[in-house]
Amino acid sequence: MKKKIVSLLLAAAMALSLTGCVSKDDAVQPQGTNEVQEGESVEEAGDSSEGGYELALITDVGTIDDKSFNQGSWEGLKAYAEEHGISYKYYQPEEKSDEACLAAIDLAVKGGAKLIVTPGFLFEVPIFEAQTKYPDVKFVIIDAAPTKDKTTEIADNVVSIFYAEEQAGYLAGYAAVKEGYRNLGFMGGIAVPAVIRFGYGYIQGAEAAAAELGLAAGDVKIKYTYVGNFDTSPENQTLAKSWYTEGVECIFACGGGVGNSVMAAAEGEGKVVIGVDVDQSAESETVITSSMKNLSNSVYQAVASFYDGTFAGGTSTTLTAAEDGVQLPMESSKFENFTQEDYDKVFAAIKSGEISIGNDTLGAEPTDVPVSIVEIENIK
C-alpha cells in the first residue's frame, strides 16, 4: 500500500514537472539567466516580430566572467547595449565543437539577434558556415577569420578583428627585463595563433630590453611551454611551482584559467606573474602587470559601427598599438624600476613602427624567434 502511494506521488510529481517545462520556456539556456529577468524568454522572443535580444555574444570555452577573453568582449557589448537601451544576451555552447557553436548561433538568431559577437579562435569554422546561412545577421569574430579547410572567406556581413598580440607580449617581456627580472617563464594555454603571438612577442621584448641594458648572451633565460589547456588545475600549479623552484622569477601566464594556477604557485613562493588579455591585477597580489588587449573597447566600437551604419563588413582588421588595441595597464602595475616614461617611450616606438615585431609567422617553435642574448628553453 505504502509503495502504491509513493508511486502515485511520484507520477504526480513527474506530471507536474512536465507541465512546468511547458509553461516555463525560458529554460533553453540557463546560463543567460541574468538577462532573462527582463521578462522575455528566448522562444517567445523568436516568435514575436519585435523585441528579442538584438545583441548576442557567444562564448568559447570560457564563461562571460572568465576575467579574461570572454569577459572583456562581453563588457564591451554590455556597455554599448546599456548606454543605448538595446536588449542583449549571451549564449554558451554546450561543448567545445563546431556543431555546438553553430547550434548556439542558431539559437541566438532565433532569439532575435541582429549582431552576434563571437570571441575566439574556435569560431572560425562555425562563422564560416553561419555567414552564408544567415546573410541578414551581422557577425563580429575576434581573434579569427571565418575559415574552413584553409580557405578564408569574409562575407559582407562579417567583421573579423585580430589583435597584434605580439606587441602586447613584447611590452610585457620588455617591462619584465627592464624591471630587473632575468629568469623568465612563459606558460601558454593551447598553441593557438593568438597565444603564439603573445609568446613570441614576449621573447622579442625581453631580447630588446636585454640589448638596451647591454647584457651578455645567456644573461636572460626564458622557459617556454604550452600546457595544452586553459584550465585552473593542480597540474598547472605544480608546473609553475617547479619553475619557480628552479629559479624562475616571473611567469607570463598566457591562457585563461592557467593564470590562477600560476598565481597560486607564485603566492607560495613570493614570485610574480604577468596576466593576460585583461587587467588581472585584482586577481592576486602577485600580478605585476597584464599583457592587455583592449577587448571591451574594440567590441564596443564594432557594435557602435553597426548602429551608426559604418559596419565594415567583409574586412579583417588587426588592432595594434597604433589603435590602442594593446597595452600594459600602467596605473595598476606594480613596477618599481620600469617607469611610465620607459613605457611611453617603448609604446610610442611600437606605435610609430620604429620597432617591428615578428608574429606567429616566424616559425612553429619558439626557438625560431631570432635572439642573441635571451636563452630559450622550449619545454614540451
Binding site: D65, P234, T238, S242, N260, E267, G268, S284, I379
Partner: protein, 317 residues
C-alpha cells in the same frame, strides 16, 4: 636538494585531498552504498568553504578562518550526501544513478550560488594559510624542509583524519558493524544491527570527508574556485579501488597517485627525469595503467565489500 623538497611538498597537495576523499568513499562503500558522488560532494564542500573565506575576507584571516571553513565544507558535504543516502537507502534507488545525479547537480548549483552571491562564477579567495615554516619542526634537517616548510595546516589535519578514520573502521564496534553491513547486511540485521542507520552513517561520513577534501584540494592550487575540482573525486574513487577498500592500502595508493601526478607535471624540473626518453604523457598515464593492471590481477579475489551497491531490504531477508 630543493627540487626534492619541492616534490615532497607538492606531493602533499595532491595526496592529502585524495586520501581524505578516498577514505570517505571507503566508509560509504564498506557500509554497502556505492558512492560515486564524491566529485559532486567535493564541489559542494569547496564551494561552501571558499565562499566563507571570501565573505570573511577583511574581517578575519589566518588559520582560524581555514579551520572554520573546513568545518563548514564538511557540514555542507555531509548534508549534500544525505540526498544520495536517502535515494540509495530509503528509496532503494540505483546508487550509480543517484550518485551521477549529484555529480551533475553540484557544478551547476555552484555556478548558480556564486553568481547569485558574488555576481561572478569564480569565487576568489585570499590565501593567507601557507605556513612558511612550522616552529621547531621546520628546522629539522631533511624532514623539516620536506614536511614542515611551505605547508598547509590541512596536511596535518588530513593525516589526523586518516589515522582516526582507519582506527574507527578497524578497531571499534561501530567500524565492525559498518563493515558487516557492507559484507552481509542480513547477518548484521539478524543480530540486531540497524543496517539502515549504519548505512546512513557511512554515507554521511563519506560526505563530510569529501566536503573537507574539496576545500583541501582547492586551497593550495588556485586563487579562485570555479565550480570544479578537476575530476579529483573520480580519481579518489580510483584510489579507493586501487587501495582495495582497505585503509592502509588506500594510504599507499593515494601517495602513489600523488607522486605520479607531481612527476608528470614537474618532470621538466627534475634533472633525472628530464633526460629520460619518456614523453610527458607516459607519466600522466602511469597511475591509471597501474590501476588497470592491478585490477586485472586481483579482480578474481577482489576485496570489494560484497553487498556494496545492493540496496538492503529488510523484508527480503
Amino acid at each position: 636538494m630543493s627540487i626534492l623538497y619541492f616534490v615532497v611538498q607538492q606531493t602533499m597537495f595532491f595526496a592529502i585531498p585524495l586520501l581524505i576523499v578516498a577514505v570517505g568513499g571507503m566508509y560509504s562503500e564498506r557500509s554497502g552504498v556505492v558512492n560515486i558522488a564524491l566529485e559532486g560532494i567535493m564541489i559542494m564542500g569547496a564551494l561552501a568553504g571558499t565562499v566563507f573565506i571570501h565573505l570573511t575576507d577583511g574581517v578575519m584571516s589566518g588559520q582560524g578562518v581555514l579551520l572554520i571553513a573546513l568545518l563548514i565544507s564538511g557540514g555542507v558535504g555531509g548534508i549534500f550526501s544525505l540526498l544520495h543516502a536517502f535515494a540509495a537507502i530509503k528509496l532503494k534507488a540505483d546508487q550509480t544513478i543517484s550518485g551521477t545525479a549529484l555529480n551533475m547537480f553540484a557544478p551547476a548549483f555552484a555556478i548558480l550560488v556564486a553568481r547569485t552571491l558574488l555576481g561572478v562564477q569564480q569565487v576568489p579567495f585570499k590565501n593567507s594559510f601557507l605556513i612558511s615554516k612550522v616552529p621547531l619542526l621546520g628546522d629539522l634537517p631533511l624532514i623539516g624542509p620536506m614536511f614542515f616548510q611551505k605547508s598547509y595546516i590541512t596536511t596535518y589535519i588530513g593525516l589526523l583524519i586518516f589515522a582516526a578514520a582507519a582506527f574507527v573502521i578497524n578497531r571499534t564496534r561501530f567500524g565492525l558493524r559498518l563493515r558487516a553491513c557492507g559484507e552481509h547486511p542480513g547477518a548484521a540485521d539478524s543480530v540486531g544491527v540497524n543496517v539502515y542507520r549504519i548505512r546512513y552513517a557511512g554515507v554521511l561520513i563519506s560526505g563530510v570527508l569529501a566536503g573537507v577534501g574539496g576545500l583541501v584540494f582547492i586551497i593550495p592550487t588556485s586563487t579562485v574556485f570555479n565550480a570544479s575540482v578537476a575530476g579529483y573525486g573520480f580519481l579518489a574513487l580510483a584510489v579507493l579501488i586501487f587501495g582495495q577498500w582497505r585503509s592502509r592500502k588506500i594510504f599507499f595508493a593515494a601517495f602513489f597517485f600523488a607522486v605520479m601526478k607531481t612527476l608528470a607535471s614537474a618532470y621538466s624540473a627534475i634533472p633525472v627525469l628530464k633526460d629520460l626518453p619518456f614523453p610527458n604523457e607516459m607519466y600522466k598515464m602511469f597511475p591509471y595503467l597501474a590501476t588497470l593492471i592491478v585490477l586485472a590481477f586481483i579482480s578474481k579475489n577482489s576485496q570489494a565489500p560484497r553487498a556494496s551497491g545492493v540496496p538492503y531490504d529488510q523484508g527480503s531477508r
